[in-house]
Structures are given as C-alpha cells and as structure tokens.
C-alpha cells in the first residue's frame, strides 16, 4: 500500500442525453451552464487545494468531453498549480463515443490527459437502443481506435452486460470487437437496476424483465475467461487490465486513499471524513465556493470494516500484515466466523499472507462483506 497515493476527482455533469439506466449526477440540455460551471470548479479548487501531493486525477461525469479539451485543460492546469502533482501522475478522462472525434482525442492529449475511458457499453445495436445510448456500435469501436491512434497508451472500454434481451453471442461479440482495438483496460459492469431510473420504472411496470441472476453470472464467467485469454487480468471485481495498465485512481478508492472531489455532487475523503458537494449544477454554481453539502465521520470500526470489504474487491485481497499494521488486528482474528464460513463456502481463499476472493467468490463476496460492516 502506497500511503502517499492521493487522488483528485473532477465531476463534469453534462451529457447529450440522459440514459435510461443511469443514476449518476448527470444532466442533458444544460450546456449553457458550462462556462459558469467551469468557473465555479476553478474557484472550488482554489478554495480547497492544500498544495499537497497528488498522484492521480480523474475526470468523470456525465460526459467530461461535452466540454472542449481546452476547457478541461484549464482545470488540469489549475490542479497542477494548486497541488504538487507527481511526475508519474495518471490523468484520466471519461469520454463517450459520440463526442470523441480524432481532433478531440489529440486535443485531450495536448491538454494533459494520459488515460482515457470510453463508454462503449456494447457493440449490439439492440442493446445500445435498450440502454438508450445515442451512439452506434461502429461509432463506439471507431472511438476506441481513434483514441489508440491519437497516441493514448492507456485506453479503457466501459462495458455493460446483462441488458434484457442481450444474448450470449452478442456479449461475446462485444468483448471480441473491443479487444480487437488494442485497448489495455476493460471495466465491465452487470446491468444494475437503480431505483428512480426510467429503467427501474420499466422493470417495475413489467415492460422489461429484471436482469437475470444466472444470465449475469454466465456472462461474468465468459468475461473473465475471455479477457484472461487476451492478457487482461482481473484486478478488481469489474476491472481488467494488462499488467501495469490498472487504473491507479480507482485502486486508490479501494485502498482507502484520500481524495479530493471537485464539482457538483463530488465526494471527498480524508482520513475517515467523507464529504460531498451539492448535487445540482445550478446550486453548485450559485453557492460557489461554499459547495459542501454534508459529511460523515467514520468510526474506526466502520473504517476497518470498509477497508476489508473494499480490499476484498481487489484480486490481491486483504494483505494481512498491512491490515494488522493499519488497524491493529488481523482480519482472521477480527472476523473468525465470517472468514471461516467464506472459506468453507468456497468464497474466500485464506493463507498466511492474504484473505482474498476465489474465482467463485468474486461473484458472491457480499455474503461475507455483510458480516464485516
């Protein structure tokens, strides 16, 4: 565990359309707020930055690339001015296929980004339509190719599986087409029906079947196997990468690192204090720079439980020695019942150095996680 890891997250809440499954803090048709929003962001950075070390930066959304690369560049620049950004810093930007023209990709590189994450979701027209995504499957593949061609060494493709109606063949084809572009990182998520989304309404009304547990499990198994064959190892439940191409920013979350979150609805974490900003972009602008909406202070026991649960999501699992040093007790002594139960149930692998999920366990770990919180 690198104790020095410290991240910055920047939230850009704008989108072309709002997708039916999405429960992120994202808004379509608010582009006229872009300029004042960036101003407010810069102000928040000025206001909160402490000049300390930053090892990773991540622009998420919404769709960060709704803003021109130069606008995003201004923000990167401001972070560099207000923090001590390390030389090996990872700076990621999320992009949607429909916004990623070749000029945009090189523009992003020129403005300081060195990693890009593209929301492909699927290469099946049927699935994309079901998800209410505006791009075509060819467009999605072209976006990946375009990012690679522009010179991004680290390209991630975001995928969603288990959309109602998606066949196993379609899923297999999505994986194959994405891998053929030469991406070095894949994040693949089981479709989750989030409360309050149009998708959840459709499911509640019976217009769409809820995602099927067996189907999701089968597709996950195929995912793990296909990516492993292509040289992308699972390093977290839903994340796969060629060695050295893991997303350091996200690893920071799972290892309990500190991070600043700037922008509407962004969360920050500092030594057990977790805070979040006001959600609505308009309010965020109006209240700038006093944008914190609330916070929670975690009890040591909560932090310990969270640390274990998050570490179990990683392939390396809980490193017992590190954990003991950090929290004062060995996890196996702290939770003897759940860990032994998990081991007996084939969910956990336990040895002298680590407690980690087995292949089967990656799909079933919440049964154990529930006992640790």
């Amino acid at each position: 565990m690198t104790t020095a890891a410290r991240g910055v997250y920047v939230h850009i809440p704008f989108c072309i359309v709002r997708c039916g499954y999405c429960d992120f803090n994202a808004y379509a048709g608010m582009d006229e707020l872009a300029d004042p929003y960036v101003d407010a962001l810069l102000k928040e950075i000025d206001d909160r930055a402490d000049g300390g070390v930053v090892t990773t930066v991540f622009f998420g959304g919404g769709t960060p690339t709704q803003l021109p690369p130069e606008q995003l560049g201004r923000i990167v620049q401001r972070i560099r001015e207000r923090f001590e950004v390390t030389s090996g810093v990872e700076i990621t930007v999320e992009a949607n296929p429909e916004t990623l023209e070749p000029g945009v990709a090189s523009g992003l590189l020129e403005n300081g980004f060195n990693r890009i994450s593209i929301g492909v979701q699927s290469t099946s027209a049927k699935v994309l339509q079901q998800l209410e995504r505006v791009h075509s499957s060819d467009r999605a593949i072209r976006a990946l190719e375009c990012a690679v061609a522009a010179g991004f060494e680290r390209v991630n493709a975001d995928l969603i599986y288990g959309t109602p109606g998606e066949t196993m063949q379609e899923w297999r084809a999505s994986l194959a087409r994405v891998l053929a572009t030469g991406v070095t990182h894949v994040s693949a998520y089981a479709l989750t029906v989030e409360e309050g989304t149009p998708l959840s309404l459709k499911v509640a009304r019976g217009d769409l079947p809820a995602p099927d547990e067996d189907d999701l499990a089968d597709k996950y198994d195929l995912l793990v196997e296909t990516l492993r064959d292509a040289g992308l190892e699972r390093y977290e439940v839903s994340n796969f990468a060629r060695e050295g191409h893991e997303c350091m920013h996200n690893i920071g979350y799972w290892k309990g690192a500190d991070y600043f979150g700037f922008g509407a609805g962004a969360h920050s974490h500092r030594a057990g204090r977790r805070s979040w900003n006001v959600r609505l972009p308009r309010t965020y602008i109006d209240r700038s720079p006093s944008v914190e909406d609330g916070f929670e202070t975690l009890e040591p026991e909560q932090r310990r439980g969270e640390a274990a649960v998050l570490a179990l999501r990683l392939a390396q699992g809980i490193r017992r020695k590190d954990f003991s040093q950090m929290w004062g007790s060995d996890p196996v002594e702290l939770w003897p019942g759940p860990i032994a139960g998990g081991a007996d149930g084939g969910i956990l692998h336990v040895d002298d150095d680590t407690v980690r999920c087995t292949d089967k366990g990656f799909l079933l770990m919440d049964g154990v996680a529930r006992e640790l919180v």
Partner: protein, 601 residues
C-alpha cells in the same frame, strides 16, 4: 303502559333489502326522534357513533304508536344481527319477539337469508307478516316476487303488504297490521324472574350492557341477580329502555324489552341466550335454547411487525370484552413468529374481527389460511380435537379423521344452477334437496365440509352467479373424511405455517401449488434448497431453489463507497429479521406472501 298494548317484533330481511330505511320511517311515524335529529339510516348511524365511543348501539327501540284504532301502542323494535355466522344470535333476538315482519326487496326477490330467518321465526312460533319493500323502484316486480313469497309462507298473494321505506308508502298500514296481527306479550310479573339476554355488549363507560326481554317476573336496579348458564352473581346497576337514546327506568316487568347493566366485567359472564333470574328467589329452570358460543373456524393471527405482538394481545383482550364468541390462545410459528390462534363463529365473524383489529387498534395483521377443528380418532381409541394442522399427531397413530360439515342453503336464479352444482361438487358437497321457489329461482341444499367453505366459497358463489346467488349455512356435526396432513418441508425441515389438512384427492395439488410458490418467493441461498410437500414420509411434490450465483455489487467508486456500506448494513439488519428454517434463511415477507397467495384455491 298496559300489557295488552305492547307489541315486540323484529324486521327480518336479507342484507340490503331495506331494513334500515324502513326503520327510519317507523321511527318518524312514532315521533321517536325529534325532526332536527333525524338522519338517514338513523339506527345504523348510532352504530357508527358507538365506534367512536359516544353511544351504545340500541339493539331494541321503544316507541309509541298512535294506531288507527285510536289507541296508543308501545312498540319494541328489536334488531337482529345481519349476517350468516350469527344464526344462533338471530334466533335469540327472535325469541325476544312476539312476531316478525319478513321484508323482501320487490326487485331482488327471496334470498337465502330471507328463508333462513323465516325458518327461525317459524321455529320460534312467531306471527310472520310478509312485506314487499322498495315498491317504488322501477325494477320492482311486486306481482312476481309477491307470488314467490306467498307460495313460500302459504298465504294468499293479496294479503302481502307493499311498502316503500324510501317514500313511506304503506308504512302506516304495516304498523296497523303489526298491532292487529302480532299478539301482546304474556308472562306473569309476579312469577320467579326470568329474563332472556338477546344481546350483550361492552361499553368503555358503562361496562357490560345486556339487552333483555323479561319473560316472567321483574328486574330493577340494586336487585341481586344470577346469570343461570354461567352461574354468575351480580347486582344490577341500572335498568332502562332505548327510546331511542338510553333512558333508565325504575323497573322492567314481564313483557318488557329493555337493557340491564348487570355490573359484570365482561360479556362472557352475561352471554347471549342466558337467563337472568333473581338471586334470592331463582327460577327453577332457565329459558330454553341456550347454547355456548362455539368457534367453528380457526386461523392464526400474526402481526406483520413482530413488535406489535403485545399490542395485538391487548387488542384481543379488549375485543373479547365485547365478543363472547371470540376465543384465542398464544401460538408460536417458526415461520411467522409470535401470534395467536383464534377461533371464530364463521368466516364473516373472522373478517369482522380482523377488520376491527386493523381499524380500531391500528394493527397490521397476517391471517393464516383458515382451518376448522378436526376430530382425530386415535388408534388408542381416544378422540383429540385439533384446530391447528401443525398439532396433528403422527399419521401412524390416527385411526380416523372427522371433519365438521355445514348444511348450506343457496338460492339463485335457475340459469346458474349448473355452475353452482359444479362449484359444490368441487368442494365435496353432497346435494340434499333442490326445489324451485318460483319459475326463475331455485333453492339448493347441500351438506358440505366446512373446510371447503371457509376459503372462498362465498366469493365463488357470488362471482359465478354475478352477485345474484345468496347463501346461508349452519354447522351440522362431524363426519369421517378421507383426509391427510400435507407438510411443506424446506431443506427437509417442516414449515409449520404451511401444514394443511386436505382431502386426499387435493393433497397433490396443494403440495404442488405451495412448493411452486415458495420456490418463487424464497430468495436463493448459498446452496441448493429443496422445497418438498410430504404426507408422512412420502414426498408428493418437489421444487429446487437453485443456489445463488451472483451476490456482489458491480460498481464501487468514490461516492459509491458510503452507499455500498449503508446498503450492506441494511442488508445485514434485514438478515437479522430473517426466519431461520434449519440452515435456510427466509424473509418473513416471503412466508407472508406465500400465505396470501395460498388464500385462493
């Protein structure tokens, strides 16, 4: 008032045949209620007010009627309970009368309760005045319905009175007919006191209030009395009449109808049908016809929120003060937690109790599939009464199972006879009698196992006859049946709440239905779980709940971390509320949903 000028009577009718509206007109003709206080359905409104604790519902109203013969008569209008579970209580109300008005809706015609009440009146030897009501309705067919009624009671159609409770037409003629045709009360005021309790209610302010007909002797405040059936002694606090509000009087004498506040703690000490006598000078014999209230239908009542158990117990205690027929005992179900097994007179009684518990006591309840009390004859020769399938002894020790049977009367237009017969056949009913009341309407009489009736027989009857069929029933004893106990096993452990005693031919069906339902409702576990239905050790149906394959949140980044922790904490708390059946964890809601679905056949 001179005894010769007293008339005590009931209006008997099928539900909705216009009893309350006719009562309004009678109250008005007798000037019983000041004009400004008069409202529609006056007596029923008093009932609503009673629920709010303001007034005790009058079960008998005293009125003065200036008849056409120039004399002023004292009329006692005695109410009868309006539903089919209470035929015994109807019979006691009738026993307090000297005659009845048989009211039939001129559009609807004779219905099952019309007949059932008529037979009770005839059995009691009462004068019956047949009346067609609602003659103002465009759909009224007074000639046709009049003929039907005339045939039924064997008197000429012309003699049947025609009234409209709504317009008041014919009501004066009806009252004149009551004073001429119904006899005055008999009974010796000087004889040893005998007063019939025909209703008994509990009031928060006054305690138990009984409604009585004094048959012999007299009752007055401060006198010491004895309730003969329960051998309860008490000192009367107050006697009086409802006119229509409570009005104390000095005494009630033979022939009077009124109320007595006997100063007892609960209605069980002064039950319907009992005889009040003088403690110092008791009557030799009580009045005939007393029956102890006997529950026929049993069901488990469980609070959906286990924390409400003490509230439920308190509510049942309070209800029992007012309901001598309600019995309950604590019961623990491994699937449903703590609750009570309650006995009711019938299904409607059960619905009333459940509704009152939910409405008046603000409880949310789960009612298990109702069951009846079975008689188990054991190979050892003794007989057990079992009203909870879970308590059924080992099948090997059972020589015979006897089930209660009801005599059912169904009246319906003849085009529905086919579908009704089908329904009765499905329910193992035995046709006893069938005859035409008129060219259009048929009366069917069946003996049917009570267990087959208590689930949704009435709903089925109504839906198959588009609402035109009507029903009355009464228990007529036990008969041996080809019955078995089906157990539902979860991972080899029996789940008590789903045990059922069913006919052998229906066992497979029941087993398949319940196992399928539970398979759908119980969430997947870490391992495969077998859901089986069994008779003894023989498995008759089996389903498998496949082991979970995915139990992990896909996404967990910065802002998700708190959310995920809270979700896990919530799930963990939910897990604590799970019911543990062996190694299987089942959310209580799943059991409840299965029981609800289990209601229908």
């Amino acid at each position: 008032m001179e005894r010769m000028l007293t008339r005590s009577f009931s209006l008997i009718a099928h539900v909705d045949h216009g009893k309350s509206t006719l009562a309004d007109r009678i109250l008005q003709l007798c000037n019983a209620v000041p004009e400004r206080e008069m409202r529609e359905q006056y007596l029923d409104r008093m009932d609503l007010e009673r629920e709010r604790g303001i007034t005790i519902k009058a079960q008998a109203i005293r009125m003065e009627y200036p008849a056409s013969d120039g004399k002023i008569y004292e009329l006692n209008l005695i109410d009868t309970p309006g539903h089919v579970d209470f035929s015994y209580e109807v019979s006691r109300s009738l026993a307090a009368c000297d005659g009845v008005v048989l009211l039939v809706d001129a559009a609807q015609g004779v219905e099952a309760q019309t007949l059932a009440n008529l037979y009770l009146a005839i059995e009691a030897g009462l004068e019956v005045i047949p009346v067609l009501n609602k003659i103002d309705l465009p759909a009224a067919e007074p000639d046709r319905v009049g003929n039907e009624l005339a045939t039924l009671i064997g008197s000429p159609a012309e003699s049947i009175l025609r009234v409209s409770g709504k317009t008041g037409a014919g009501v004066k003629e009806l009252l004149d007919s009551i004073v001429t045709r119904i006899p005055p009360p008999s009974g010796d005021p000087e004889a040893a006191t005998k007063a019939l309790i025909f209703d008994s209610t509990y009031d928060n302010y006054r305690g138990v209030v009984t409604f009585v007909r004094v048959v012999e002797g007299k009752l007055r405040a401060k006198s010491k009395v004895k309730m003969m059936a329960t051998a309860t002694f008490a000192e009367i606090e107050e006697v009086g009449v409802f006119a229509p509000n409570m009005r104390p009087v000095e005494m009630l004498v033979a022939g009077d109808v009124g109320y007595v506040i006997p100063g007892v703690k609960n209605v069980r000490q002064a039950t319907v049908g009992d005889t009040i006598t003088d403690a110092a000078k008791p009557a030799a014999e009580p009045l005939a016809g007393y029956r102890e209230p006997k529950p026929m239908v049993w069901a488990g009542l469980y609070p959906t929120d286990g924390d409400q158990y003490p509230d439920l117990r308190e509510a049942l205690e309070k209800l029992q003060l007012n309901d001598a027929a309600l019995v309950y005992e604590p019961e623990t179900s491994q699937a449903l937690g703590f609750g009570f097994r309650c006995g009711f007179l019938g299904l409607l009684h059960m619905d009333i109790v459940r509704e009152r518990l939910e409405r008046e006591f603000d409880l949310e309840l789960l009612v298990t599939t109702p069951s009846v009390a079975y008689e188990i004859v054991r190979t050892a020769g003794d007989i057990l009464s079992v009203h909870n399938p879970a308590e059924m002894p080992d099948p090997g020790s059972i020589a015979e199972i006897r089930e209660p049977v009801a005599a059912v009367m169904v009246i319906a237009p003849r085009e529905y006879v086919g579908t009704l017969m089908e329904l009765c056949q499905e329910r193992r009913a035995e046709l006893k009698e069938m005859h035409y009341l008129s060219e259009e309407r048929v009366e069917l009489r069946y003996h049917i196992p009570l267990a087959e009736m208590i689930v949704d027989f009435f709903d089925q009857l109504k839906s198959r006859t588009r609402g035109y069929g009507s029903l009355d029933y009464e228990p007529v004893g036990y008969r041996a049946g080809d019955l078995v106990k089906v157990e539902i096993l979860l991972h080899s452990n029996p789940v008590d709440a789903f045990s059922a005693i069913v006919h052998k031919d229906q066992a497979f069906n029941y087993g398949r239905r319940m196992t399928e339902k539970l398979r759908e409702l119980i969430p997947r576990q870490q391992f495969d779980v077998a859901v089986q239905a069994a008779i003894g050790s023989r498995i008759i149906a089996r389903e498998t709940i496949k082991a979970r394959r995915k139990d992990v949140l896909a996404k967990c980044y910065g802002g998700d971390v708190s959310r995920k922790r809270k979700l896990l904490e919530k799930q963990k708390a939910g897990k604590k509320r799970m019911k543990q059946v062996g190694a299987v964890e089942v959310p209580q809601e799943a059991f409840m949903a299965a029981l609800r679905l289990g209601d229908g056949k």
